[in-house]
């Protein structure tokens, strides 16, 4: 068992476990903080996938941006919601969640089944890429290539995304502002 494998399993277990905690916890604050952990674990996994830039972005954007936003929102929405949550029974699976749980389990089984049936390790284009040496090696540096690609091949989506982002931010700001008349 190589170090990589060990790392992968470690990260995977951390990610899944923290995600499960997010799902199971009744406490919003704890689940938000456990969600951090999940995100960090995922970032680790990205590194294992040789996508270090994405991993960095993940940490910066998610942890630095989204989570802060969520925490703010949580704090702004007051303690009532928190109290309401605390009131409900503190069990892992409340009975009323059983259908959702069953459904999700089934869904998981189906997904795994599909993954196995599809034989993802032997996909033709993966084989093709291996043959053409189009596979990223651990020693490769991808950031240059990524930057170039963003500015050439994916320029249009890049611009579109940026405009969308702008609009979303403006919209969010508009929505979140205090209404004068209220």
């Amino acid at each position: 068992m190589s170090l990589v494998t060990v790392m992968f399993y470690l990260m995977a277990i951390i990610a899944l476990g923290s995600a499960l905690y997010v799902a199971a916890s009744k406490n919003l604050v704890r689940s938000v903080f456990m969600f951090f952990v999940t995100l960090f674990a995922l970032a680790g996994l990205y590194v294992l996938c040789l996508a270090d830039f994405v991993a960095v972005t993940q940490v910066v954007v998610y942890v630095g941006g989204i989570l802060v936003l969520i925490l703010f929102a949580f704090m702004l929405s007051g303690r009532e919601s928190l109290a309401g949550l605390q009131q409900s029974k503190n069990r892992l699976f409340a009975v009323q969640n059983l259908p959702a749980f069953l459904l999700v389990t089934l869904f998981f089984v189906v997904l795994v089944n599909i993954v196995i049936m599809a034989g993802v390790d032997n996909l033709p284009w993966l084989k093709q890429a291996e043959k053409m040496h189009n596979v990223i090696q651990p020693a490769d540096v991808t950031i240059n290539n990524l930057g170039v690609n963003l500015m050439t091949t994916y320029l249009l989506p890049f611009e579109a995304i940026s405009i969308l982002l702008l609009m979303a931010l403006v919209g969010a700001a508009h929505l979140a502002r205090k209404e004068e008349a209220l």
């Binding site: 990589v4 494998t5 992968f8 995977a12 990610a15 899944l16 995600a19 997010v22 799902a23 919003l28 969600f35 999940t38 995100l39 990205y46 294992l48 996938c49 996508a51 994405v54 954007v61 998610y62 941006g65 989204i66 936003l69 969520i70 929102a73 929405s77 009532e80 919601s81 309401g84 409900s88 969640n97 959702a100 749980f101 999700v104 389990t105 998981f108 997904l111 795994v112 993954v115 993802v120 390790d121 993966l126 890429a129 291996e130 040496h133 189009n134 596979v135 990223i136 490769d140 290539n145 990524l146 690609n149 963003l150 091949t153 994916y154 979303a168 919209g171 969010a172 700001a173 929505l175």
Partner: protein
Amino acid sequence: MITMTHYLVLSAGLFCIGLYVILAKQNAVQILIGIELMLNAAILNLVAFSRFDKLNNSGQTFALFAIVLAAASTAVALAIILNVYRRYRTIDPGKVNQLKD
């Protein structure tokens, strides 16, 4: 050796957990977290597959896009949640039922 199957199963697991959160939770913020979990599961797939595209880096590029978009959507969603909270004094989506007949 870590194969694609490992990644895909992992992401499937994360996806399902996210799904569960969405279905079962009664708090809009938690549901939002569920959505983020699902998004991350998808991003994980993209990143995992992007190993086999050294030239174009399409997977990683779109992973980046997805992250950024997730950020934007989260911002909007939180704004909505705040507004909902102001109007109804609750963020339980089950209780926001003014359109029900």
